[in-house]
Subunit: 344 residues, 2 copies
DNA sequence: AGCGGTACTGAAAGCGCTTTCTCATCCCGT
DNA sequence: ACGGGATGAGAAAGCGCTTTCAGTACCGCT
């Protein structure tokens, strides 16, 4: 599917009766060119519908204005929000974006980084994140190679041993804050809907939550921690299982809002009133949760902002040894899905 | 921010003690090379962490495995769903994606097409769509130039006078189906929450809805059609205004689910029961609407599927004169947000 | 008139790869 | 033993641009 001949800079130069060099200079504004010639070139370019070949430019300049973005799933509201922020910032910096969606498959993540490296992008934003040691090692090698050649890397959320600039949603602390807020409401028996423990995000959130409870002397039994896919239906199923085992908790924490949404549906189906019978809280504050009934208590993360910031990080001048880390504290938002509890 | 020297194919060739040509052939598998040399090349490439420069390849081959995707806003659940489909299909076809988000600004749309054209992508997917004649003319010119040089274009939803392969959600028919379903429920007085009439999608949906009503002899008064931004908050505000004017309709149609979600919130705030006091319906069937209370009646569009199909279109061999059009009929899904109505 | 600048413009050398051509070899049948 | 088709490998010509480097003109001065 080769492209047919496009007009090249050479054509433009010929049409304008100037040299290649001059045409290039006019179109890039890299040097002063006499107004007469300048005009002729601009006109010729317009007339020929000239569009500079980005590849040729990238090759000649050995640099590009492209960044690579790799995330788990653009379809997920979490990444959709982040992606929006990234796109906004990219457009502000006049950067192009090539996108990779791993669908949560670690090897696809590595494949994408390789591909993106091939594109000689000036920066790479990584928004996925796996606990898998082996994978992480491979990824790290890939990224080190990339950086060795001058590439920038910025990650969103924690990545094991990936020395890179990062925007860090404080999942651990946010979940802990939430736990404390729920304790304050009087809850003492909790259940947790966990996502796959292969995701760092999940590990941090669940870990932070349990830890804060533990500090208050509250333990969560193993059977009250249910794991499921990091999706709405994953939450639904996990909740089903929890309910099937006999729901004894007075408060359920879902490690992400989309799971909470699913859980809410499951509870409704089982005639369990939220927050009457049980309180429910999520994490992220994706837009839709305000519109659930009841609106969901959650830890608000400024998703779009996170996206913008991680992109911005790569535009900052590189710092010698140290990497930059921007921590973003989630804000606990208490809504109607959680109610005070007192031992009847 | 020039990249430092990466290992080039030349380095690999030298390290393997073969010519550039042979190295290229081995790495691309384009010709048979003796097993001994082949092995040396592969090893050398691995050792040097060689990553072919995609730009150089694109330039030399004058073709690339990249497609451009342009949409209004990846953050919107509608496009997020579609984007997911596109990414899935792209990964299946081993195609890279460069993404553009126009944030609903027509000139940004044109700018993106130009940029994407510069990338010599093999195909361009356009998911936006404006009624604006002037803009459309500019866009069309841009795309014609692109196609004149062998580029493929596929659009999602109707685009005025853009002769291109298309996946066409039948907005008009879907809205009409919905209207008829609502009529069957007994409703005779309707209100419409319209998005900006600069969007083709809006025009089609609202038009189809009203037309079907008209055919049944039901008219909607001008003041019962309220326009707002194509967002959740746009729906909220539009509903506010409608309520402010004195809501007389027994059924409200929002031209997109996200607006319906906002409208639902507004109604709840005003103590208007859905569907007790008024029925409410949307369009798209984005995942979240199942989880609203009440779950939303809507016209279901297979979003992810739409995305896959529009990408697939560009992978099909081009057809001489005629363009392909895949129509996708939305399916009316009646949920609890709509109730039968009978004149009390 | 002659000198040092200043301001423009062009020729040409790459950027890193693919892909014709060309040229050796090698193996086969006869 | 010899011609001829495979087969394997290299040289070199681009792909479309940017960017040194090397002028050429022309300006104001002395």
């Amino acid at each position: 599917m080769a492209h047919q001949a496009q007009n090249t800079l050479g054509d433009v130069a010929k049409a304008a009766g100037v040299s290649l060099a001059t045409a290039s200079r006019v179109l890039n504004g890299t040097a002063s060119v006499g107004p007469a010639l300048r005009d002729r070139v601009v006109r010729a370019a317009e007339r020929l519908a000239y569009s500079p070949n980005a590849h040729a430019q990238a090759l000649a300049r050995s640099s590009s204005r492209t960044v690579g973005v790799i995330c788990h799933d653009v379809g997920d509201p979490y990444f959709a929000g982040i992606a929006r922020g990234v796109m906004r910032a990219a457009s502000r910096h006049d950067l192009q974006v090539v996108l990779g969606s791993t669908f949560r498959a670690p090897d696809r993540e590595v494949a994408y980084t390789a591909m993106v490296r091939g594109h000689r992008v000036r920066a790479m934003l990584i928004g996925s994140g796996f606990e898998d040691r082996e994978r992480q090692k491979v990824l790290r090698r890939e990224l080190d190679r990339y950086r060795a050649t001058g590439g920038r890397v910025a990650v969103l959320s924690r990545h094991r041993g990936l020395r890179a600039d990062a925007v860090l949603p404080e999942n651990r602390e946010g979940a802990a804050d939430l736990a404390r807020a729920l304790l304050t409401l009087g809850h003492r028996r909790f259940a947790v809907l966990s996502g796959p423990t292969s995701l760092t995000t999940v590990v941090d959130r669940v870990g932070g939550f349990l830890e804060a409870l533990a500090e208050a002397g509250v333990a969560v039994e193993r059977q009250d921690i249910v794991e499921g896919p990091f999706t709405r239906d994953g939450g639904y199923e996990a909740a089903q299982r929890l309910i099937g085992r006999g729901l004894r908790a007075t408060c359920v924490f879902a490690s992400t809002d989309v799971m909470a949404a699913g859980a809410l549906a499951a509870m409704r189906e089982h005639g369990i009133d939220v927050p009457g019978d049980v309180s429910l809280a999520g994490f992220d504050d994706i837009p839709m949760v305000r519109d659930l009934t009841p609106p969901l208590t959650t830890v608000a993360l400024p998703l779009e902002d996170l996206g913008e910031r991680v992109l911005e990080l790569t535009t900052l001048p590189e710092r010698a040894g140290r990497t930059r880390t921007e921590r973003v504290r989630g804000r606990v938002v208490l809504r109607e899905s959680t109610a005070p509890f007192s031992e009847a």
